[in-house]
Amino acid sequence: MALLSVEHLSVSYRHRDTLVRAVDDVSFVIEAGEVLALVGESGSGKSSVALALARLLPPRAVISGRAALKETSLLDASEETLRAIRGGTIAYVFQDPATSLNPVMTIGAQLLEAIVWHTPAGHEEARRLAVWWLRQVGIPMPELRLRAYPHQLSGGMQQRVCLAMALAARPSLLVADEPTTALDVTIQVQILRLLRDLQRRLNLSVLLISHDLTVVERIAHRVGVMSGGRLAESGAVDQVLHRPAHAATQALLRARSAMSFKT
């Protein structure tokens, strides 16, 4: 049985008095240890899919369809179940680490929060875990960093902290929403490599949201192409990227070759 199964997921946003559909009847599964990438242009609805899973969308969003993580149904879960799921079984890493970390709290406090709420660890134990996770994501001198504030770290380091924070409660699914987009190109490569290593080492399931096919090619097993709120095409990465069947995929591929031509 699949780890995550999403069936007929639709998301609409109330705008004035009308509903604007952002995600239209999307279905997919993610197996344990698998990386699925959702690609598409901005506005294609891929981020809405990611946020809908743990119901992190704003209240004006209307969600329908079904989504289940193992046996737990997500879209109609109670507030309490949802809190256990968020950060516990489904963890998120977002696009911009500079704004995703609370500026007035230390790295340590933010990390400990994630651990304490989802594991039975006491304070000392949680602290040790926090240090351990910071080391896992490649942050030097982790004991010192616990006392640092986000603004004292570089963008790449901040994103590593976000990764550690997401993984600290050993979630079964990591949702990475454009995790490298806001970073410098050289840092992007490092973070991507880190993500791939961690995924393999921990046998993580990942839902990767991206508009960058190069990123997708590096770490995803399967890919779904989204266009206008619908899942236009999906399949193994090799197959979809080398023998694109849908116009949206071809357009993304063309855009990429144009980009690489320029640089």
């Binding site: 609370n102 007035v104 989802h118 504030y149 603004h151």
Partner: protein
């Protein structure tokens, strides 16, 4: 942080000089000379006496010399003497200042204690019932003349119902009371003025708290906190409120002049012998040295308030408190 505060302090120097120039300039607007006021009531004052007086006060010197002389005295907190009773201005001000400070501190504490919760609750559900109800209240608070509320309070709660004393700071028999009794008596006298200052001040600050909180709640780190599975209470208070309070600290410093202005009106309406009432009486009596002193002190207090707010902000915001270099 020290560097930040020193920079702020330096940027206040031109403003401080500007304050003294304007305070001095206002006094020179008056047609005639202070000697007119002093000697008008004395029909026997001869022309020579008048000239001697002017010489004594330095009024026959060029304006910039007069300014510098005044400035040199002010720098040592010497604001000369009151025209009316001849006492040193500083002495009179020191006598009145604590009363005004007490009233303002009470009002400020109440305003903060009420405005922040009001703003935060409204911000949690913008457009909700509570938000709309407080919005109405805020608009009314903004539009109500405080002195009118004072008059209504005196007429209704004071005269008609007799619940609160209507003027002054002490009852007639205060002399015979114990220390605690006198304090309670004063507090009883202050209920109405402080209550009204609170209501009027609440409007602006609660609105500000609301928009600050609304702004913070749309930040990415709030989504991160929710994605971590934190209960909503922690998301709002630990992650939201702490950030939302930062700009409120600054606005507190900026709203100080409004509070001082409020004291003038409230102390006049309620006949409370504080700095505000002193100012009003001095203006009516054209007691220039007192007016000049209070205008200057009021502005300098505002500057100090701003500096304090900046310091509090710097202490509360790690982005300023701990520089980037460390770690």
């Amino acid at each position: 942080m020290a560097a930040y505060l020193i920079r702020r302090l330096l940027s206040m120097i031109p403003v401080l000089i500007g304050i003294t120039i304007i305070s001095f300039g206002v006094m020179k607007l008056a047609p005639g000379k202070p000697t007119d006021v002093m000697l008008d009531f004395n029909p026997k004052a001869s022309v020579e006496a008048r000239e001697r007086m002017e010489q004594l006060l330095g009024l026959n010197q060029p304006i910039h010399i007069q300014y510098l002389t005044w400035l040199r005295r002010v720098a040592t907190l010497n604001f000369d003497r009151s025209f009316r009773d001849g006492r040193p201005v500083t002495e009179i001000v020191v006598e009145r200042l604590p009363i005004t400070l007490t009233i303002n501190v009470c009002a400020l504490v109440l305003i903060l204690g009420l405005a922040i919760p009001l703003g935060v609750i409204a911000a949690v559900r913008p457009g909700g019932l509570f938000d709309r109800a407080t919005t109405v209240l805020v608009f009314i608070g903004y539009s109500t003349p405080a002195f009118w509320l004072g008059l209504l309070g005196i007429a209704w709660l004071g005269v008609a119902l007799g619940w609160v004393p209507v003027s002054g700071l002490h009852s007639l028999d205060a002399e015979s009371m114990s220390l605690v009794g006198r304090a309670l008596d004063a507090a009883h006298h202050l209920v109405l003025p402080v209550g009204i200052m609170t209501f009027v001040g609440l409007a602006g600050l609660s609105r500000y708290a609301r928009s600050s909180m609304v702004e913070v709640l749309r930040q990415d780190y709030i989504r991160t906190a929710r994605a971590k599975g934190l209960p909503e209470r922690l998301v709002l208070f630990r992650h939201g409120l702490r950030n939302a309070l930062l700009p409120i600290v600054t606005i507190l410093g900026l709203s100080l002049p409004d509070l001082i202005a409020g004291s003038v009106v409230m102390e006049t309406v309620f006949a409370i012998p504080g700095m505000g009432r002193l100012f009003y009486d001095a203006v009516m009596a054209r007691d220039q040295h007192i007016v000049m002193a209070l205008v200057t002190i009021g502005a300098v207090l505002t500057l100090l308030g701003n500096l304090l707010a900046d310091a509090a902000y710097a202490a509360a915001d790690p982005r300023i408190r701990v520089g980037k270099s460390h770690a």
